[in-house]
């Protein structure tokens, strides 16, 4: 198939998205149903044409069409088919096309699953999504065409994909991440539509909640997969590096987490409306900012795309237009709430507000840390370097506080909570988490990484607070489940009676506890040894003995590898045999370290072979990583919680009439009357 056809279909998709951005919106403002009816077909058409373009690019990779510059730069005939497939999004142009494909996919999903929403709302939401699509389609067509040809001098073979990217991680990580980033455009579109038509009420919150939650779930998965990938592929066993690109994904995640919680308040109580809308705009803006930081080259990162100022300028313009336009709209249309406190100081509203304050503080910290090189440059403080220590020092206390706050807030009630009630609820989590934290910190401190001989000298305050926060959060969550599931018809009946969104929340919070626990334990009690080893040598790390049994060679599809065999024992009993590799990629003349990992629920054992230090010895990194899996399993649990929550019955909207009735009811009990005084 001709690659140029891909370009043509992208242009057709652009035309459709322009129509989508204009026609249904105009129809909704002039109350013409015939124009609004274009929204769904245009969404579908846009998706189909973008999908065809994506298919054409994929095909070019599959058949090794090196006349396409993007294919020639990111593939090679020796690569196995699944890496050729994932190489489609292994570079800037293709990943942008994936981004656009997902955007149109989300648009189509909104068009499909919003049959019961008021047509004005649907038209406006889809129009806003169309506007976003116009921006990105222009971006790809004008600055980053993936279908550019190398004619007439077609290279005989491709330059190969960066070996770091030739991995299962590339197949799954970017799609998940982009699903998250792009998914927040739906929450954004709902917010903008609500601002346009003045319908900022509980019903609006209920409609945008599932979309926000599912996008957040994907982003959570994407980030966790990225962390896991870095852990086993980069070869040095860390799981989070505070790299600008990682931070770029964390920013919308934190903001999206705040948005989910704030939406809950808006749905249930009809308050915080202005704030929720602002968060929806912010979350999407941070997704765009991430794209800008990664693709413009303003910040140096280990894994940023090739930098290009024209792309940066275009993205910045896109970011500026969407953010400034939406914030201006916000300034004119957001409801001004005349505060009459309708909730007490210990109400659930207040706890969720504090949650948002903490999350925003965390977000700002990460943002400042990420763009610090720019700030330093701007104020000509070129001498300051900032990195992991800054983030660890500032982010950890907030994470601990979030966990502790969660454990209290979970018991609070809407409007007001009785102090005595709250204190009584705190007894079990306080006692249990203190016991757990002391036990874990003292046992691990004295067995795993003793720093001194005295029993208390191995007590680490940071580890203590981390474990305390995690267990506090977990115990409180479980206690809440226990309390709520009490029933005359038995526990099982009580458990069954709880809604899916309740269980979603429980999973999310338990997941958070797992992440905090895992991060604390692995960072405080992980053991890492760098030793020189040759075949026959043994070394010890923690309680484990490592024997370098032998060394061999192996041929891969496009690499040759030196493979070490390591036998690991504990107290003389065999634990595992690991085969770390050093791969030499033929085409790119690159050497990659492939770690050998024995994964376990409670600990990982990690062996990586680095440089050969002599003809028969290597620098070897041995690691014992307790609970490292919990960071990813916790994230997985959080994402599952999100997906479970959206399966809740109340999101299956019945019909518009009940919706309106409900909206009216919550509007009157919530913030006192209809929210927006139009044009005020």
């Amino acid at each position: 198939m001709f690659p140029e056809l891909g370009q043509v279909t992208l242009i057709i998709a652009l035309l459709m998205s322009v129509l989508l951005a204009v026609v249904p919106l105009y129809g909704s403002l002039t109350a013409r149903d015939s124009l609004q009816a274009f929204a769904r077909p245009l969404s579908a058409g846009q998706f189909v044409f973008i999908a065809i373009a994506f298919g054409i690019l994929t095909n070019a990779f599959m058949v090794d069409d090196f006349s396409v510059a993007y294919v020639a730069n990111h593939s090679n005939s020796l690569m196995p088919w699944y890496y050729k497939f994932s190489a489609v999004w292994g570079g800037h142009e293709g990943s942008l096309l994936l981004w656009i494909l997902m955007l149109s996919g989300w648009t189509l999903a909104v068009a499909t699953f919003s049959r019961r929403l008021p047509s004005v709302m649907v038209s406006q939401v889809l129009s806003v999504m169309g506007m976003v699509a116009v921006g990105f389609l222009l971006f790809i067509l004008m600055t980053s065409n993936p279908f550019d040809r190398t004619l007439p001098n077609v290279p005989a073979d491709g330059a190969d994909l960066n070996p770091l990217l030739q991995d299962f991680g590339l197949i799954v990580h970017p799609p998940m991440l982009y699903m998250g980033y792009v998914g927040f455009s739906v929450a954004f579109a709902f917010a903008i539509a609500a601002l346009i038509n003045g319908r900022l009420d509980a019903a609006w919150a209920r409609w945008s909640r599932p979309w926000t939650t599912v996008a957040w779930g994907f982003l959570t998965l994407g980030i966790a997969l990225g962390s896991w990938w870095a852990y086993y592929e980069l070869g040095w066993g860390g799981w989070w590096f505070w790299d600008p690109v990682e931070n770029a994904s964390l920013l919308p995640w934190i903001s999206g987490t705040a948005l989910m919680h704030s939406l809950a308040v808006t749905e249930k109580r009809g308050v915080f409306k202005s704030w929720t809308v602002l968060l929806a705009i912010l979350t999407f803006a941070l997704s765009l900012l991430g794209a800008f930081l990664v693709r413009s080259g303003v910040i140096t990162s280990v894994h940023s795309f090739a930098s290009d100022p024209t792309r940066g300028a275009f993205l910045l313009m896109l970011l500026a237009i969407s953010v400034i336009a939406s914030l201006t709209l916000y300034a004119f249309r957001a409801p001004v709430v005349h505060t009459r406190a309708k909730f007490g100081p210990l109400s659930r509203e207040v706890f969720l507000l504090m949650n948002n304050v903490l999350l925003m503080a965390a977000m700002l910290l990460v943002l400042v840390g990420t763009i610090f090189p720019l700030i330093a440059d701007y104020f000509e403080l070129g001498n300051i370097s900032i990195g992991e220590p800054f983030f660890n020092l500032t982010f950890s206390p907030i994470a601990v506080l979030v966990g502790l706050l969660l454990g209290v807030g979970i018991f609070s009630r809407w409007k007001k909570t009785d102090e005595g009630y709250l204190l009584r609820k705190m007894i079990v989590p306080t006692v249990a988490s203190l016991v757990i934290a002391f036990a874990v910190v003292l046992i691990l401190g004295n067995t795993m990484a003793p720093r001194g001989t005295g029993f208390w000298s191995n007590f680490s305050l940071w580890a203590f607070f981390g474990v305390l926060s995690a267990s506090w959060c977990a115990v409180a969550t479980l206690q809440d489940v226990w309390n709520k599931s009490g029933s005359r018809h038995g526990r099982l009946h009580g458990l069954r009676r709880q809604s899916r969104s309740f269980y979603g929340m429980v999973l999310g919070h338990l997941g958070l506890a797992m992440v905090i626990a895992g991060a604390t334990v692995v960072n405080n009690y992980g053991i890492e040894r760098n030793v020189r080893m040759g075949p026959g040598d043994t070394a010890t790390a923690g309680a484990y003995q490592f024997r370098f049994a032998s060394v061999g060679e192996r041929e891969g599809a496009n690499f040759t590898a030196v493979v070490g065999t390591f036998e690991i024992t504990r107290d003389g009993k065999p634990v595992a045999t690991l085969y770390p590799e050093r791969r030499r990629y033929v085409v790119q003349r690159n050497v990659m370290t492939e770690a050998g990992i024995d994964a376990g629920f409670l600990r990982d054992i990690f062996v990586a072979m680095a440089e050969p230090v002599s003809s028969d010895a290597w620098a070897v990194r041995l690691q014992y990583k307790p609970l490292v899996r919990w960071t990813w399993l916790g994230a997985l649990l959080m994402a599952l919680g999100g997906f479970l929550a959206i399966a809740d019955r109340r999101y299956r909207i019945k019909d518009e009439a009940t919706e309106l009735r409900k909206a009216a009811v919550s509007g009157s009990t919530g913030a006192g009357g209809r929210p927006v005084e139009a044009g005020a």
């Binding site: 280990v302 930098s307 440059d377 440089e611």
Partner: protein, 179 residues
């Protein structure tokens, strides 16, 4: 009054946008150093491997060398390490290390584990020379000519591409000069 407050986000966003825009032109990969064309600032630093020996800018005399700023706290430095070894061993380029804001034991272990591409490594735990050079973050690599004059600055990792396109031509130009 409250309505006016709602304009705050858009004002912040505009300010932030302008700020990002000014950052755009300045690609950190190609930051010019104020020192280009000037001698390496005076320093007296310990040799990483021999704490008792003091090094001065004389180490740069008589050869065109690369000054590579690194630290064990910097993951990107690990990325470029193989390529520095390749430069030192295969291309025979003298590389002088500046161990920046680091810990001596960790730095020595790093070199022992990963191999040592450096002819000499300057140990700069307080970042004194880094400050004078205007180091932006690790890794950074400078081309220093035979007279000890800074000729080029590269921010970010060194890899074969960067060598071929950026550092290599500068090094070759100054190697030919006066030989």
């Amino acid at each position: 009054m409250k309505r006016a407050l709602l304009f705050l986000p858009v004002v912040i966003a505009v300010a932030f946008g302008i700020f990002l825009y000014t950052g755009l032109g300045k690609d950190p990969q190609e930051l010019d150093s104020a020192l280009i064309g000037k001698p390496v600032p005076a320093f007296e630093l310990a040799n990483l491997k021999h704490p008792d020996r003091t090094l001065t800018p004389e180490v740069f005399q008589g050869q065109v060398s690369l000054l590579n700023v690194w630290g064990t706290w910097c993951p990107a430095c690990r990325d470029e390490h193989d390529d520095l070894i390749w430069l030192a061993e295969e291309k025979g380029i003298p590389v002088i290390g500046l161990n920046y804001k680091d810990n001596r034991d960790q730095a020595l272990r790093w070199l022992q584990d990963l191999g040592d591409p450096y002819q000499i490594t300057l140990f700069d735990p307080q970042g004194k020379l880094g400050f004078d050079l205007g180091v932006y973050g690790a890794p950074e690599t400078y081309v220093i000519d035979k007279q000890g004059i800074v000729r080029y600055r590269h921010v970010g990792v060194v890899n074969p591409e960067v060598w071929e396109e950026k550092l290599g031509p500068v090094v070759r130009r100054y190697q030919q000069e006066g030989s």
